[in-house]
Subunit: 172 residues, 2 copies
């Protein structure tokens, strides 16, 4: 099962492609499966940025087109995305919500099923603890998933976290 | 000049196609132009509704696809849309913002330029008065535009109002 996981934003967009389950040919020299088939692995992640100098609607378009591009390249079947987050800045909150809307719409156009998770669900799924700090979530991610050792950007890690929450909830 | 004007929503979406300028063949029996070339006229309007029983993302998709359909049919060059409106219900506000995002994104995919107007700008453009009531705005609309006499739904009227605000601001 392959999914796309997204931490939405129009300045920085976190994107991750995560797969779970055995993949043919992924064996070590001794013939064992290189990845635990119960463990998720990261196939791709990025922090996609748009320029501050661009009008908002152009940044929105770039984000939607990037989501479309990654879906076309990796053909995931489901989208996991972080749910409504209430920013302290009301205008920013509305712009992020609009960006989420463009992402949800593009995912539907691309034929994906959509699953939304709250920050609380993500914390519980990754650490087992609803009051986990951001650092606790981050340190759990590299233990839970293979291939994320070199991910540095927060937004990519946040995308991976929502993807792991999705696998925890759906038991694929 | 032909535009699409939208009052965004995922339960009810107001859509209007408005044109300004002389149209060949639109003459009366006496040979005069049937419409004042300085007056906008309504070519199409609708209140597009989605079912409450559907999941939000499906309603979002239906709204975006309807916007795409109307753009394909009427080939407007610009989108005028009402700007961020702060609902008292935070969750509804976020869902409406997401719907706006899907509409903005579809309009960009369709190659349209986008113009956003605040409720204040719409009131001033239609009535000349920033504290105009909703009824004052509505009663001005039918005087300012031809073809809107039979429009009954509030959402259609709101879409027409934002379209008129756009023509007032851009002086097409």
């Amino acid at each position: 099962m392959r999914i796309i996981a997204i931490d939405p934003g129009y300045e920085r967009l976190g994107v991750a492609i995560i797969e779970k389950g055995r993949v043919d040919g992924d064996t070590t020299a001794s013939g064992e499966n290189k990845f635990n088939s119960q463990k998720e692995r990261l196939l791709f992640s990025e922090c996609f940025k748009t320029k501050k100098s661009l009008p908002f609607v152009e940044r929105l378009e770039l984000v939607g087109r990037e989501v479309s591009r990654v879906i076309d390249q990796y053909t995931p079947r489901e989208l996991a995305i972080e749910n409504l987050f209430f920013e302290t800045n009301q205008k920013t909150a509305m712009r992020v919500a609009e960006t989420r809307g463009a992402i949800l719409y593009q995912a539907r156009l691309s034929g994906l099923e959509i699953f939304e998770y709250t920050p609380l669900q993500i914390k519980v799924a990754t650490t087992g603890y609803g009051k986990a700090t951001k650092n606790q979530v981050l340190s759990m991610i590299t233990r839970l998933i293979s291939g994320a050792e070199n991910v540095k950007q927060d937004d990519e890690m946040d995308a991976i976290a929502v993807g792991l929450a999705h696998f925890a909830h759906t038991r694929h």
